[in-house]
């Protein structure tokens, strides 16, 4: 009988997902009944609280909107910087390769939290050392710089792996048609490589989206910090943090499922 259910789910995907949601919600409910019988969700879900969580304080961008903003800006900038370092890392010219290796390995060996602190501490120091003024930048800008630096190292590795994955035959075919090195690279190799890298990029974006929660530590009022501010006021941590977890989960999960679909489409295209 169980086997019939299996085959049914294989064919009817929507019913499968409905089943999954029902099971998970039931499991969570059972957990809640044991761990935390008296819930006060109503006090959390006020209009003001929700507005704060999703959009921040009136007059400034905060909350989930800021979370997305941080993630999008950082991924865009790190895409550019990471591509530069990634190509440099892949190239065989020592002048480019060695600095790239140092940059990438240094950033990848450091916890994101340390990068955030380091940027926060380093900016006044460097501005003093080079410009003789004590620069003060907003925590949000510092966070963006930190996220960009950190993610660019991982993007660089994705780019390097992507270029490496292009079969040598492509280089040879382009050369034999008369393209020089630069043309080969820009017109033939990079387009293919970047298409292959899309799933990895999306996955990196999802990771960055989750990591924006770390901006909490330098005072950026994004989604997570907004939640902790409400928690400091209401002390209803089960309700608040389970809601936060649910929101992050829904967004991150949907994005990675979307990425899977993309991956399948890309695979079909490239296996021509």
């Amino acid at each position: 009988m169980l086997k019939h259910i299996e085959t049914y789910f294989e064919r009817h995907k929507i019913q499968f997902w409905i089943f999954n949601i029902i099971v998970i919600v039931s499991l969570l409910k059972i957990f809640q009944m044991f761990a935390y019988p008296e819930t006060h969700f109503k006090e959390v879900f006020t209009k003001d609280n929700m507005r704060f969580l999703f959009f921040g304080r009136p007059g400034e961008i905060g909350g989930l909107a800021l979370t997305f903003g941080l993630a999008v800006i950082s991924i865009f900038l790190s895409f550019i910087i990471g591509s530069v370092f990634g190509i440099a890392r892949w190239s065989s010219i020592k002048l480019f390769k060695i600095p790239a290796i140092i940059y990438i390995e240094l950033l990848r060996a450091t916890p994101l939290l340390m990068v955030i602190f380091w940027v926060f501490f380093a900016i006044p120091v460097f501005s003093m050392a080079f410009f003789h003024t004590q620069a003060h930048i907003s925590p949000t800008v510092a966070a963006i710089i930190a996220f960009t630096l950190f993610t660019s190292a991982y993007v660089a590795e994705i780019v390097r792996a992507g270029i490496n994955s292009i079969p040598k035959g492509q280089f040879e075919a382009a050369k034999s048609m008369g393209f020089n090195n630069t043309q080969t690279f820009i017109l033939i190799i990079l387009p293919q490589a970047y298409r292959k890298m899309i799933p990895a990029f999306v996955s990196q974006f999802v990771a960055l989206f989750k990591d924006t929660s770390l901006a909490y530590t330098i005072g950026v009022i994004e989604f997570f910090r907004a939640a902790t501010i409400i928690n400091n006021r209401l002390y209803l941590s089960f309700e608040i943090f389970s809601f936060v977890a649910l929101v992050y989960f829904s967004i991150a999960f949907s994005m990675s499922k979307f990425s899977h679909m993309l991956e399948k489409k890309v695979e079909k295209q490239l296996n021509a």
Binding site: E6, P111, V125
Partner: protein, 237 residues
């Protein structure tokens, strides 16, 4: 005049740095050990041919992978008072020389559950990469499912698993820095402490970064040795 670097604070505050390092090591060692255990169980479940087992294992993996680690830490720390629910944690805390039992174990549990989910996928991929013929040969000799996994499949999977596993272990070491948000006095916390007292955050951050690099390099090195040991004689038949 530019900024005057004062590296001597590092020597003055070296006990803070060392304490931070030790706490990070405690979190990392315990975290690595238990997340590997959980990850192996989940991974074997994920790779299982039983649809339901695989499905429930995937519930675990997707849940813990898609929620930020810091959220998991806060949820556990603020919702439950671990030392009340599990009094034995107090004696463990004494044994480990911990100051804040609740914070340490909340962070540790979240770290284990989070990393365990990622390791689960790594283990699944490793088991799936063992050729089907190995299962079949073991089964045809009369071995039951546990014997097949324990004597034949898992030993072969481990060799393949080690590089991505190492990467997850390194992630765990880096992620341990999040424990500072609960007040656990590990390395990153030490950076802030030194800065708070001396305003020499830059020097402190540099020193701490170097320490993290030392930690990650040593772990990579150790895992490399382990990989070599497991590769002795394991070639494809």
């Amino acid at each position: 005049m530019g900024y005057e670097f004062d590296w001597s604070v590092l020597i003055e505050y070296k006990s803070l740095l060392i304490q931070g390092l030790v706490t990070t090591i405690k979190l990392s060692v315990l975290g690595i050990f238990f997340s590997f255990l959980i990850g192996s169980v989940i991974g074997i479940g994920r790779a299982s041919k039983n649809f339901w087992l695989s499905l429930f294992a995937s519930y675990y993996v997707e849940s813990f992978r898609n929620i930020p680690l810091i959220v998991q830490m806060f949820f556990i720390y603020f919702t439950f008072t671990l030392s009340q629910i599990f009094p034995f944690l107090n004696s463990w805390g004494n044994f480990l020389g911990l100051h804040d039992v609740d914070a340490f174990f909340s962070a540790l549990i979240a770290l284990i559950l989070y990393t365990g989910a990622y390791i689960g996928e790594v283990v699944k991929a490793g088991i799936n990469s063992v050729p089907k013929g190995q299962f079949e040969a073991a089964q045809s000799l009369g071995m039951n499912k546990f014997q097949v996994m324990w004597y034949i499949v898992y030993p072969q999977a481990i060799r393949i698993i080690i590089p991505p596993l190492t990467s997850q272990f390194l992630n765990l070491i880096k992620n341990s820095s999040l424990a500072m948000t609960l007040g656990v006095a590990e390395l990153t916390f030490a950076t802030q402490q030194i800065d708070a007292e001396t305003f020499r955050g830059f020097e402190a951050a540099t020193a701490v970064t170097i320490l993290y690099i030392v930690l990650t390099l040593s772990t990579s090195f150790l895992m490399n040795l382990i990989e070599i040991k497991f590769s002795k004689g394991v070639k494809n038949a």
